[in-house]
Each structure stands twice: as C-alpha cells, then as structure tokens.
Amino acid sequence: MVVRALKDEGVQYIYGYPGGSLLHVYDALFQQEDVQHILVRHEQAATHMADAYARATGKAGVALVTSGPGATNAVTGIATAFMDSIPMVVITGQVMSHLIGEDAFQETDMLGISRPVVKHNFSVQRPEDIPAIVRKAFHIAESGRPGPVVIDLPKDMTTPTERYPYEYPKQVKMRSYTPITRGHTGQIKKATDLLLNAKRPVIYSGGGVIMGDASEQLTELARLLNFPVTNTLMGLGGYPGTDRQFIGMLGMHGSYEANMAMHHADLILAVGARFDDRVTNATDKFCPTAKIVHIDIDPASISKTVQADIPIVGPAKVVLDEMAQLVKNSKKQPDADALKAWWQQIDEWRQRHGGRYRTDDSELMKPQQVIEMLSLVTNGDAFVTSDVGQHQMFAAQYYKFNKPNRWINSGGLGTMGFGLPAAMGVKMNFPDADVACVTGEGSIQMNIQELSTCKQYDLPVKILCLNNQSLGMVRQWQDMNYESRHSQSYMQSLPDFVKLVESYGHVGMKVDKYSDLEGAMREAFALKDRLVFMDIAVDPFEHVYPMQVPRGSMRDMWLTKTERT
C-alpha cells in the first residue's frame, strides 16, 4: 500500500536505508519498478537528498528510514528542511503497534521527537488509512508555507499477507487546513500606492520567492518600477544576479551597497522573507526611515520580529502579479527623479566597496577567486550546493545566480554535511546539468561516506573543497571576538582527499596555485561522467566581509580586518 501510494503520487525516487521495521516495505519495493529506491550510507544523507530534490524542483522529496536509530539519524535532515520551509515527506518505520510504549527494540517516539521540526506528522493506525495519509502528507508538505511531514509507520500496518481496499484520493479536503491562494486586494492597492510614491525603495526578497515559483513575477515588477533588489541567502537567484538592478545579498555578510540601501530606504518591499536575525541585525535599529510592505504566505512570518506597515498574506506569485498589473494600469508613474538620485547614491556605494577582496603577492589562493572561477567556468549556470561556513558565504557572494532553484544551501539550520548529499539529490534528477558542491574540509567530512553512494548510482558531481585547514567560520569569530584564541577550530590530521576519493573509485585533484586553477576546473567539468573532488588550498587567514557589527544597525559593518563603517 505504501509503495503503491507513492507511485500514485508520481514519486520516481525515494532515498532511504532499510531496517527491521521496514522489511515489508522493502520487500514490496523489490517487486516493482516504478518507484526507485536509492540506498544511501547514512540516513541524514537520505533526507538531504530528498530535500535538495525539493529545492531544485519545488516538489516534495521522499525519504524512507527505519525505526529507532534510522529515524533519529534523519532528524537533522528533517530540521534542516523545516527551518528553510522545504517540502519533504519522511516515512519512518516504527515497531509493531502493540509494542509502542514498551521500550521495544529500536523504538523511539518519532512523533514526539520530530514534532518541533515538522509541519505536521502522522501515525498510521489502520492500514486502510495509508493512501489517504500519504496524499494528505504530500498536500500539506507542498501547499501554503511548505515544510517536512513525517509519517510514522508501525510494522504491522504493512503486513503483506493482509489485504485492504485501496483507493488513492484525488483531492484532499481538511477543515482545519486551507492554504491561502491570494492576497487581500485592498492591501495590495494600498501597497502599490506606496510603491509608486517611494523615493528610496528597496525590494528585499527571500526563499518564498524561490519556493513559491515567483521569480518571474518579481523580476517583472522590479523592472517596471526600476527598484533595486536585494536577496536573502535563501532568495538568491530570485532576481538575476548579473542584472544592474541587483545589489547583492543583504544581512550579516551582505554587500555594502545592499545593507546601506536598506538602512537608508524609505520603503521596503519584503517578499517571501522572514526578517531573520542574520538579516536585520538589531531590530530596534533596523531601517529607521522605512515603511515596510511585507508579502508572505504565512501570517506568522509577518510582524514576528519587525513590524510591517502593510501586511499582505498570500502567495508571492499571485500577489506580485496583481501588483504589476496595478502598476501598469496606474496613471501615476514611479518618481523618476527621486529614483535617479537614489540609483546614483547606490552606485556610489557600489563603487566604494562592491564585492571587494584583496589578493596579495603570494600564490596562495583566495577562496573568493575559486568561486569567481567556478562562476566563469560554468557560465553562472550550474546548480551549486554548499555546506556551512566561510565557503558558503563566499559562494553566496561571488557566484552570480541568474536563475532560481540553482543555489542550494542550508540557511536556517546551517547544517554542515548538507552539501554533498544535496548535490547528489540534484544530480540524480538533473543528470545533464553541471552540479557543483562547494564545501570545506570540515563540512565534507560530516557526510563523506556518501562518496560510496555516488559510485553505486553513478552521480558525477563536482566537489570543490575550499581547504583552509580550519573551521574557518568559527576561527573568524575567534579572531574577531576572542583575541584569536583558536579553540578547537583547527582541522588536524586531514586525510589525503585525493587518495580517499580514489579509493571510492572517483577522480581526485589537488590544486595549490591560482595559476593551475582554471585548467584544473575546466578539466574537472569536462569529465562529464566522473565524480571529481578538487582539494583546493586556500588562504587560511581569510575572513568573510562585509560583516555586520553585532547589535548594530544594517549599516554597521566591518569591511576588512581593519576598516569599518
């Protein structure tokens, strides 16, 4: 019943790892060909693969893990998806229902453990409910503000010798769950008036534009209005990264011009973004002169940390479209003179500090150079997944994403170990696309066992390990706040990554000099059907800048190790 329901849901791949409580399900999987199971090496990777599939396609990914340790290993992946509002269905095996509560072998209360990190969870109590529960799970995961859904499945719900009526429901109706499908017209009108009167506007868009498939609408509106656009870490690609109106990422490691523009704005149009503390810095100093229009599908995201002047609850795609129509049909035009002056100011900021880092004479590469090279070699058109740390920030700052759903990283939870399984999940579903995983020597070791899965399923992703021989992001904070006491932030006894990946049957490359970088990278991407691991030595002392000064406003930033605003 489970496998059949997944097939009826149109699921092609599921990522998982077997165990006692799931043996009936695995036996059913064995006897069909519609739903293909991908065997990972650790359950966390299964959830990240499913999650990345969702981030790249907008559809819910599926993971299947056994009870007890299988389920607990999946928790990090579930929480990762939850924090970034990613649709995912995770089926966890459970002990026989009559044993629940008795501390049975491999029993854990997965409903309880997962509750704070899921959009919803189900426990199957009657086998005949399975089709309806599976349908509901997908519906809940994918609609409204997306999120992960867990289905806890006691072993006796899947007994193969028992037969039950099966009907896969076409529609779901739940009286307690009705996602919003459009915004309030009056509010949208009011907001549009504000937009047309703005003198120093900024559009601040986030992950909701990516997952809500609204980047086309966002781009259209922004161009109609000639407004500057900044994206959150999760929103990159929502507006073309090489466009003149794009002013970079905002927030803690946002661009100088984006943070300055936000601080001085008189109007902020926030779309599918949640005013995260990594974006706002101190909320009491946040954008003192701005009126805030906030479009979000989740009312709880609005006025949670920063009060909105005009809240609009609804899907970004529909609301932005309606706004664009209003702007087109309006007699009033955006204030061209004011915008001209505003753009002059922004361009001045951009000139002053836009995307700057310093190279020195040594041959030691700067991590930023590696990302710029990646952007060049892949024409800004690759799927880029990342782990967590300095390399993640450099990738966000220096890779120019022109399309949505191409930048795949863990923002809300910041899960080291995400990058490689994520790249695998993307490659599996986009076999012809270039998929690069930007990682650090710290993060990659958190799920390095998946190199074996890559071999089994032939997943030729490209891994760019920015090797600074340290937990760079931790070290940066220690440099800045703890007088460079590098407590536990060194990576000692690193493996020889080249030999390691070779032992898994892949290609390894070591790059130490900038002059070798381009050739090596081109060679790596030319090896279409091989996984290539590039171990790239980068400057271990580099910091990520700009960096907002703690408890300051948006414009309070360190720009280099010695200069601040």
Binding site: L111, R115, K119, R175, A300
Partner: protein
Amino acid sequence: MRHIISVLMENEPGALSRVVGLFSQRNYNIESLTVAPTEDATLSRLTVTTIGNDRVVEQITKQLNKLIDVVKVVDLSEGDHIEREVMMIKLKASGQMRAEIKRTCDIFRGQIIDVTPTTYTVQLVGASDKLDAFISALGSASIMEVVRSGVCGIARGEKVLSL
C-alpha cells in the same frame, strides 16, 4: 496582559501535545489550560490563559492557527466574554473555624461539598480573581489542598466559536 485564548481543534491523539509543545518550544507561558470534547465528538475545545504583550499574543494565535489540527482560534479577551473556573479546596475545620469558614463560604457563594469532623471541602465557581480573593479571605484557616480546573471562557452575546 492576561489573555484567554480559545481553540477549536480536531479531537485526535497528539493534538494536545502539539499545542502544549508549541508553547514550550516558542517560549510562551501557560497560566492555565483546559481541554475537553465539545458537543461534536470530533472536536475538542481548549482554553489557555497566557500572559504577554500584544505582539507575543498575536504570535501565539498565529502559531496556533498554523497547527494542522487546529480549526479555529480566538482571543476571548479581545471582546466581551465570561470566564469561569472551578476550585475545590480542602480546609482544616474544627472548633470555631467551622462557623468562620462557613461564613466566608456563603459570602463567596461557595458550597461545602464534603464534611468530616475535622475538615470541610469547599467548591467555588467564578472568575479566577474571585477564587484568588476567596483564598485570601480565608485568612487564618489552614488550607490542606487546592485543586483548580483552569479557566474556560465563552464570548457574550451572539458570537460563537464553531465550524
């Protein structure tokens, strides 16, 4: 400020734990909580009293609404409403204390629902502050045990919380 939030939710296993979990997870405080099925056995009505500023309470109602099992949420304190709580209180009652307790009890329209030679058990229904007032009015009488039901509330007039 104190708020009384009423929640109509699916009468399903796990629903209550989601509500309680939400409060602890998001660091909201719960003063009291009551829950029981309604006339429609598929629905439960839950009342929670909480203390917080407007922003916090707005977040609480939004977050409650987000729970899949929750059908409707209303902050009763926003309008005219009636709140009631039941208290049973067991008191040492001997000698002249017996008459004294009886008097206080009458003033507050409480009922003595159990009697032994040395104890009284009093039942009192009312808004929470009335129950508090009763306890302080007891003065020197010694309290052996207090059980309170927690608050339940309903809007005045035509307004109802239903499907």
